[in-house]
């Protein structure tokens, strides 16, 4: 919403300065977004310099100029003037500006295949003279003015732009803003001028609001004005229209716009002579179409509110008028409409047709239903003053009666909500100044809501009105209690926090990537999950929710590779989606590691990243999360995005929960890259079920002995199975098993491998003698041979 101080003065008698007003508006909830000088029609035209006039590649008579308009970069402008040359000072018109000579609005366009950003102007185009030969050639005096407006910017008057929250349609009119200011002791709201216009002629156009299902129009007020002389608007009106950022068109159109922004009262003017027979306000039929004032054709659905005549649709109620009945400069007789349309229905229609207008913006927020005749009066007076003519009596068709809401209000609510005691008289005064009618009834106030405040429903709304006018700065701040009754983080959140820092401490950089990804990449990772598609994605390569954290991590890993960073370890902790219902998501910690080997460097003896590297990172993080080796086993089945032979899964000992995966990623997805995943919910579930308190530490100081064994086993025998068998022989005596060699090749059958391990044996009660050691060693050999088919290598 835009306005100027002098416009505000029409409604508010105040001695406050513009800057005081701006500050006040902010403090009562009408946020000032911008304050900038009023633009006049000519301030767009800028002094510019041709840096280089190049030949147009596709046209002999045109030049492609590099133009300095005082910004960082020069612009390309195509120019046909013979005098366009290097160093010429001239006048530049940017896209969007309107050329005074012909009223043409400039757009960025391609001229013979070259894009031209604006135009260089001749004197005649700017109506400076009749000189149309060549572009303007300014003298050297202008050298310092490059980038400045040629006609000079009018200083002094400012446009104040407010960002009005959707609950305050009343402040989409200058009068509403004035009312809020007056309630804040910033002046007195002026009484509206009483109309003195004589309404002499007959309103002889038949108007009907049809009874339709969900009829959006409940009031249709109108009058006829005959024998007007439509004209260019006078200066003051033009300036106001310009202040709004609109272009003056004609007095009739400018006046309807003016009243809309003045009173938040949209109006529409029809050329009466173009209306066939009568006006019917009705729901549209499916497929009906019309050409709107924005020069576009719209085909309507069923049940959109239209204003029609015998020939068809004239306009969309509360949204936009039609071209067929639009007023023109030579229009003689008009029908002026002031109606009320239902917010929700209006919004739905506009949304379906993807149509925006200032009227629609207001109706969907709520226009004062009791402003129908006030709006007509205001516009009629101006039209008669500027265009002459005679006006009819007002005809107001109304199908619903509007009743002002009454609220029983306990003034104590204010103090209770804001925590600072506010006097009831002050409350009454503020509400009255805002237009509420307040009567005291015992302890309560009976508050009647003005028709322009569709946002007020109950007591809490009144509390807000009072406190925003009093000012939030009056509320006394209460120091918070430093008391904690509940733990800050729950069990899961603690693990999240620890997992995050644990993985980072293994050399991984934490990333945060989108929760959505490219469906094509995601398909490689979704396994049995369904794709969760976004109906309206931001771009086609971010069109599904991710089923895994890998797609985005790999994408960014590769991006970094392209940036020249070979050695990388990235991780993310966040959601992966298993379905599209709320809650169908899991928390995954996913790490990814890629190593580039510097062939030239002898110094950097690379510690090669392999599967055991990634396994080390994962197992260490699990250990830090208090998942110990005895809590899990490693299995070989992993999802298809891992290398089938070089990957494993970490499964809880009971076999029920997958805690994580690790391994080489599938070479078809990305080469030489390792990764791991931890499924945090599973991990926390396992821990919660198997809660252990730390037992007190016992250790033995009796002599320990190491015995080495080498077993010949089948190639597919897993080391884990071997160690498990040995461990189970005597959990007390066997303290540690360490695999120190795996060998395949010479001296060994091709289907076998040798696994060499060191077993540490120690008793908690005595020093073992040679006999004890021999016995346990024999038992190890025999049990392993029996259970795994291994043979001791001699």
């Amino acid at each position: 919403m835009k306005f100027t101080k002098d416009w505000l003065d029409v409604h508010l008698k105040t001695n406050k300065s513009e800057s005081q007003i701006i500050q006040k508006l902010n403090s009562i909830g009408l946020e000032v977004e911008k304050v900038e000088p009023v633009k006049n029609e000519l301030s767009d035209f800028i002094v510019a310099k041709i840096i280089k006039a190049n030949k147009h590649p596709n046209a002999d008579r045109l030049k492609l100029c590099d133009v300095d308009i005082g910004k960082k970069d020069t612009l390309k402008v195509v120019c046909g003037a013979p005098n366009a040359r290097d160093g010429l000072l001239t006048i530049y018109a940017p896209p969007g500006s309107v050329i005074p000579k012909n009223g043409m609005k400039l757009e960025i366009s391609k001229i013979r295949g070259e894009t031209s950003y604006g135009m260089l102007c001749s004197e005649s185009e700017l109506k400076l003279s009749n000189e149309s030969e060549g572009i303007i050639d300014l003298n050297d005096k202008y050298k310092t003015k490059i980038g400045k407006s040629f006609f000079g910017e009018k200083k002094g008057k400012n446009v104040i732009e407010l960002s009005i929250t959707p609950n305050r349609p009343d402040c989409l009119g200058v009068r509403g803003i004035a009312r809020d200011l007056s309630a804040s002791n910033f002046g007195k709201l002026k009484e509206p001028r009483k109309s003195k216009v004589k309404k002499n002629i007959k309103h002889n156009l038949k108007i009907k609001i049809e009874k339709n299902k969900n009829q959006a129009c409940s009031i249709f007020g109108s009058c006829i004005i005959k024998n007007i002389k439509n004209t260019e608007s006078p200066g003051w009106l033009k300036n106001r229209i310009l202040a709004l950022g609109l272009r003056p068109i004609s007095a009739v159109v400018d006046i309807t716009n003016y009243v809309m922004f003045d009173l938040n009262r949209p109006l529409h003017a029809y050329d009466l002579d173009k209306i066939k027979n009568k006006i019917t306000v009705r729901n549209s039929k499916k497929g009906e179409s019309f050409k709107a004032l924005d020069n576009k054709n719209y085909t309507l659905d069923k049940d959109m509110c239209v204003i029609s005549d015998d020939e068809g649709v004239l306009g969309l109620g509360g949204i936009i008028g039609g071209e067929r009945s639009g007023t023109e400069i030579h229009t003689k007789n008009i029908l002026l409409e002031s109606a009320y349309f239902d917010p929700s229905t209006t919004r739905k229609t506009a949304k379906k047709l993807d149509l925006n207008s200032d009227a629609k913006f207001r109706f969907e927020r709520g226009v004062d239903p009791q402003s129908v005749t006030v709006g007509l009066d205001s516009a009629v007076e101006l039209i008669l003053e500027i265009c002459g003519g005679e006006v009819s009596k007002f005809d107001v068709k109304q199908t619903k009666k509007f009743k002002n809401l009454e609220i029983k209000f306990d003034p104590k609510m204010v103090s209770k909500t804001v925590g600072t005691s506010i006097n009831t008289n002050e409350i009454k005064k503020i509400l009255s100044n805002l237009g509420f009618t307040v009567k005291t009834k015992g302890k309560f106030l009976n508050v009647k809501v003005p028709s322009w405040r569709p946002d007020i429903f109950g007591e809490i709304d009144l509390v807000e009105e009072v406190i925003r006018i009093i000012g939030f700065e009056k509320i006394k701040s209460i120091e918070p209690d430093k008391k904690r009754t509940k733990p800050t983080l729950n069990y899961f959140q603690k693990h999240f926090h620890l997992a995050q820092r644990s993985v980072a401490s293994k050399g991984y950089l934490e990333t945060i990537t989108w929760s959505f990804t490219d469906e094509k990449i995601n398909n490689k990772f979704k396994e049995k999950c369904e794709s969760v598609k976004i109906v309206n994605p931001i771009s086609s390569d971010l069109n599904v929710l991710r089923n895994s954290l890998y797609p985005n991590l790999i994408f960014y890993l590769e991006k970094n590779l392209n940036r020249g960073f070979g050695d990388q370890a990235l991780f993310e902790i966040g959601p992966a989606f298993t379905g599209k219902k709320p809650g169908q998501q899991i928390t995954v910690v996913c790490g990814i590691k890629k190593q580039s080997i510097d062939e030239d460097s002898n110094l950097e003896k690379n510690d090669l990243v392999d599967v055991f590297h990634i396994k080390k990172d994962l197992v260490q993080s699990l250990t830090e999360l208090e998942i110990r080796k005895e809590d899990f086993k490693v299995e070989e089945n992993t999802p298809s995005y891992y290398h089938p032979g070089i990957s494993g899964s970490i499964v809880s000992k009971d076999g029920n929960l997958v805690l994580g995966y690790f391994g080489a990623l599938h070479p078809k997805i990305i080469s030489n890259t390792f990764g791991f995943e931890i499924f945090l919910e599973n991990l926390v579930e396992y821990k919660a079920k198997n809660k252990k308190t730390k037992e007190s530490l016992t250790f033995s100081d009796y002599q320990k002995s190491d015995r080495d064994f080498a077993f010949l086993v089948n190639k597919d025998t897993r080391a884990q199975d071997l160690t498990e068998v040995i461990q189970n022989i005597d959990k007390n005596l066997i303290k540690q098993i360490k695999i120190f060699d795996v060998y395949e090749g010479e001296n060994i059958p091709s289907d076998k491998k040798s696994i060499a391990l060191k077993v540490t044996i120690q008793s908690d009660h005595k020093t073992l003698d040679e006999n004890d050691l021999t016995n346990i060693s024999k038992k190890i050999v025999s049990t392993v041979e029996e259970k795994t088919g291994a043979k001791l290598r001699s």
Binding site: S344, F472, P480, E510, F577
Partner: protein, 355 residues
């Protein structure tokens, strides 16, 4: 001179004249080993008379003691000499690069979430979470944002179905709804998390982070809201004083609603938070709307309280001087390394938030 004495003299000479550790070891074997000279002399004792035996044994022991002393000092001398020679040769150019230590980093958003949790923990808030995918009811309807209301235009929502019933949450406020529905008042929570809006330009990303705050109890009023936010902002920016203003605004789920600005100034191209005459909008807040409480089965006649929502990414940008919001999600290796935090740098209230 007896043979014995001659032999002793010979050993002494050998020991004294050598500088070689191998030779010393050989001499040691010759003298002291099982079959060495000393033992061989002791073996002779058996064939001697008692008197002779006594004298000779004493001689052997004396000689042994003498030789041992010479041997020890010689061994130390040679060892010392050898080590000195070795050290002399061991010269390394220590200006060569050290072995690379690969330390990971914590993303600034995560760090800031931990900082925020730390601050609110101190005043009794606990952390709640909610799903990223929400239904229309929790995201809008329960939060007093009716169907077809222009307030919905402020949220460019990503939908997961054509009927627009399932969506990616546009704010963390649905966590309020979930928390209140599943629990009993009082409520005192913060809820950090990912939020989504279909918006992408210089200052907007389709995913960003928000922090929700909610405090509902019997007498929680706007004074508490002011005090709480004032405390938070001061602690977060680690300053003693903060210039702050509450501006009335509108959110469907709170009433009265306010936007909060903090004062700042620019000095040497750097932003100084807390003072100065410029204002920066940093959060929205208000008293939870009675309709929201009703929707969440909390009686607004008994309970009331405040809620607030803060952009976490923006807080991180302000505190750590990061200029571009989009860079948070671009995973540039250099950026992550530069703006990331040491994993051991855990914000705590006894150490302070930042190092």
């Amino acid at each position: 001179m007896s043979d014995f004495e001659k032999k002793i003299l010979e050993f002494k000479n050998r020991l004294n004249s050598t500088q070689d550790s191998k030779e010393i070891e050989a001499i040691r074997t010759d003298i002291f080993s099982k079959n060495g000279f000393i033992n061989s002399q002791f073996k002779k004792l058996g064939s001697l008379s008692e008197d002779e035996k006594k004298t000779f044994a004493s001689n052997i022991n004396k000689a042994k003691q003498e030789l041992l002393e010479i041997f020890r000092s010689k061994a130390i001398e040679v060892l010392d000499k050898d080590l000195n020679e070795k050290i002399k040769k061991e010269k390394i150019d220590v200006t060569l690069p050290e072995k690379e230590f690969k330390i990971g980093k914590i993303h600034p958003v995560s760090q800031v979430i931990d900082e925020i949790s730390c601050i609110f923990s101190e005043i009794g808030f606990s952390v709640e979470e909610g799903p990223d995918v929400e239904n229309d009811y929790n995201n809008f309807t329960a939060l007093n944002t009716p169907e077809d209301h222009p307030a919905k235009d402020m949220h460019d929502t990503f939908y997961l179905d054509e009927s627009m019933k399932t969506l990616l949450r546009t704010h963390t406020s649905p966590v309020q709804v979930r928390t209140m529905i599943k629990g009993k008042p009082p409520f005192k929570i913060i809820a950090p998390g990912r939020t989504y809006r279909s918006d992408s330009d210089q200052t907007h990303t389709p995913m960003f982070h928000q922090l929700e705050g909610l405090h509902i109890d019997k007498n929680i009023n706007m004074g508490h809201l002011k005090g709480c936010l004032n405390y938070f902002i001061k602690e977060f920016f680690e300053v003693d004083k903060i210039k702050m203003r509450f501006r009335p605004s509108h959110f469907p789920f709170t009433e009265p609603s306010a936007e909060v600005d903090i004062g700042y100034r620019i000095e040497n191209n750097k932003i100084i938070i807390g003072e100065g005459d410029k204002w920066l909008e940093i959060l929205g807040c208000g008293m939870v709307h009675p309709n929201v409480l009703k929707n969440c089965k909390v009686d607004p006649k008994i309970y009331q309280g405040f809620a607030f929502g803060i952009g976490i990414d923006r807080l991180a940008m302000l505190k750590y001087g990061i200029n571009d919001l989009r860079s948070f999600f671009e995973c540039d290796y250099r950026w992550l390394n530069y703006y990331g935090f040491d994993p051991l740098d855990v914000p705590t209230n006894y150490r302070g938030l930042s190092k």
